[in-house]
Amino acid sequence: MGVLPWAWWFGFRRHSAYPLGALAEAVTNTAFGFMRAYVLLALWAARPALGGYDAADAVTFCFITQALIGPVQIFGGIDLTERIRTGDVAIDLHRPVGLQGWWLADDLGRAAAALLLRGGPPLLAGALVFPLTVPGPAASAAFAAAVLLAVVVGFALRYLVALSAFWVHDHRGPEAVALVLSLFFSGMILPLVVFPGALGSAAMALPWAALIQVPADVFLGRRTGAGLLGALGFQAGWALVLLGAGALLTRAARRRLVVHGG
């Protein structure tokens, strides 16, 4: 067996080493979930069936979003950035394993820990208080696949941002841009279905839609049959394109690599 399953396992352990911190975040995400839910309920009261969602769909969307904040790391960031900044990436580069594959495995471990510790609580709390739309077994299985792909796309985007630190020595610029794009175009702030016309279509075609909007639609049962395959294919397609870009950028970085520090 290769080393990557181990990287996954140790990533999982590393990120579940401090369960109290994760639970505190889960509580925060749950609290924000309730605030957003009431805002969305007010919006749907004024504009029923907005974007094809009913009020229950909108509230369900809201809690799914809150549950996915941790697993897809919607606010961005990856430990690799700091390692590039300090030059510790020299250690990673010395290991007999590809940089992107290693960090992907680690990030999937992190996402699994986040799903358990930070994903469950908001969804459960929401379901206790509101009548959420609950998926059947088929939609649940599809949702699991969509979340996995969402995590991979999320990783690939964050990995590209992290690698930019090899070129742009102040990594906060790219991170700030990435954060705005990620919040706005993932559906985190508002479901993409409420975006009007061309803006809506564009948002649905961009990779950030794969992070939250697509898994949420799968959960809500709005993608079935060919539509479901299309949704998962959309996510998988972006995952491949972005990981491919990551591989190319890794190679380019290695060529003009500047490893900081003595």
Partner: protein, 333 residues
């Protein structure tokens, strides 16, 4: 040439320092490693010395394939490091003293398990090797401790174990004793001496600790401003730079500077005077003459340490004894 582990020929690394986005034209080039050539053979223990910023770490990053050379050629264990980084990593061990390969949040034992998986070490081989390293480096008391709770010396020993678990042919060390106390240093030194002597592991060591050098290295290479300034034996370095001996003479009372058969005091401080002996001088005869002519209370003979030799070389007070024409390559062939 079958037993060459490292072969560098005219190895060069130039960094471009960008002046920021708005000052594209302010770019400057820094040649960190400048046409360095040397060969390290199997089983050697080589000290790689030089003042701060000389280019040591940059050389090591090229040797390990982390940085690509700007020009020149480099072969390590028969491989081109930057093209065959992964294959090379399985055959060499590296310790960057200021960084750690260990996983901060995991117990040391788990980090070593992950290293085993990374390097695909067989379970049985791993068990023997781990037991051996645990004994030699005295790891037992903190194998179960999370790495972030280890002291610097414990962490360094953990890092050494991690670098050696896959039994590499070549071990490259960038300041492995930095910040260690005398006992930890002694443990690490003894360990390095042993794996070099018993397993025949080739070692390239960068350090500013001259105790490391005097205890461990038969051969030293000195790099200065990116250029290889000396490559040869340690004793030879002392001799070729004309390391001299100094007599510290303590008289009964302050006196005018001593002058004795062409040897003059170069410094006087109250009753104490310093006399530098020419290389050919017979110390016993000089001491006898001093005792006969002066009221001497005490005499000490001080050899110029390797530290003084290096300090004066780095400062430029003395010339390096001989340039390094490819180091020991010619003599060994």
């Amino acid at each position: 040439m079958g037993d060459a582990v490292i072969e560098a020929a005219a190895l060069t690394k130039t960094f471009t320092r960008a002046g920021g986005v708005l000052r594209r034209r302010a770019r400057t080039a820094v040649t960190a490693v400048d046409a360095v050539s040397f060969t390290v053979r199997r089983g050697e223990f080589v000290g790689y010395l030089g003042p701060n910023g000389a280019g040591k770490s940059t050389t090591i990053k090229m040797l390990t394939g982390i940085l690509a050379a700007s020009s020149g050629s480099l072969t390590v264990c028969g491989l081109d490091p930057s093209r065959r980084r992964t294959a090379l990593a399985r055959r060499i061990g590296v310790v960057f003293g200021q960084r750690t390969t260990l996983w901060w949040d995991l117990p040391l034992r788990d980090s070593l398990t992950l290293v085993r998986r990374l390097y695909r070490v067989e379970a049985a081989a791993h068990r023997t090797r781990l037991a051996e390293l645990t004994a030699l480096l005295e790891l037992e008391p903190f194998l179960a401790t999370p790495v972030r709770q280890l002291s610097l010396g414990q962490r360094m020993r953990g890092d050494l174990a991690a670098a050696l678990l896959h039994d590499p042919e070549l071990l490259v060390l960038d300041e492995p004793t930095i910040g260690l106390d005398v006992v930890s240093k002694a443990t690490v030194r003894e360990f390095l001496a042993r794996i070099n002597a018993e397993r025949g592991t080739t070692i390239l060591l960068t350090t500013h600790d001259l105790g490391d050098i005097e205890r461990l290295c038969r051969r030293v290479m000195i790099i200065d401003h990116g250029r290889l300034a000396y490559d040869g034996g340690l004793g030879e370095l002392r001799r070729t730079v004309g390391a001299d001996r100094v007599l510290v003479v303590e008289l009964d009372r302050p006196a005018p500077p001593i002058a004795l058969d062409g040897i003059e005091a170069e410094r006087a401080d109250g009753p104490r005077q310093w006399l530098r002996l020419p290389p050919a001088a017979n110390a016993a005869a000089v001491i006898a003459a001093l005792a006969a002519r002066y009221d001497v209370r005490d005499i000490a003979l001080r050899e110029t340490g390797i530290e003084d030799v290096l300090a004066s070389l780095y400062r430029g007070d003395r010339a390096y004894g001989r340039p390094a024409p490819g180091g020991q390559r010619s003599s060994a062939e």
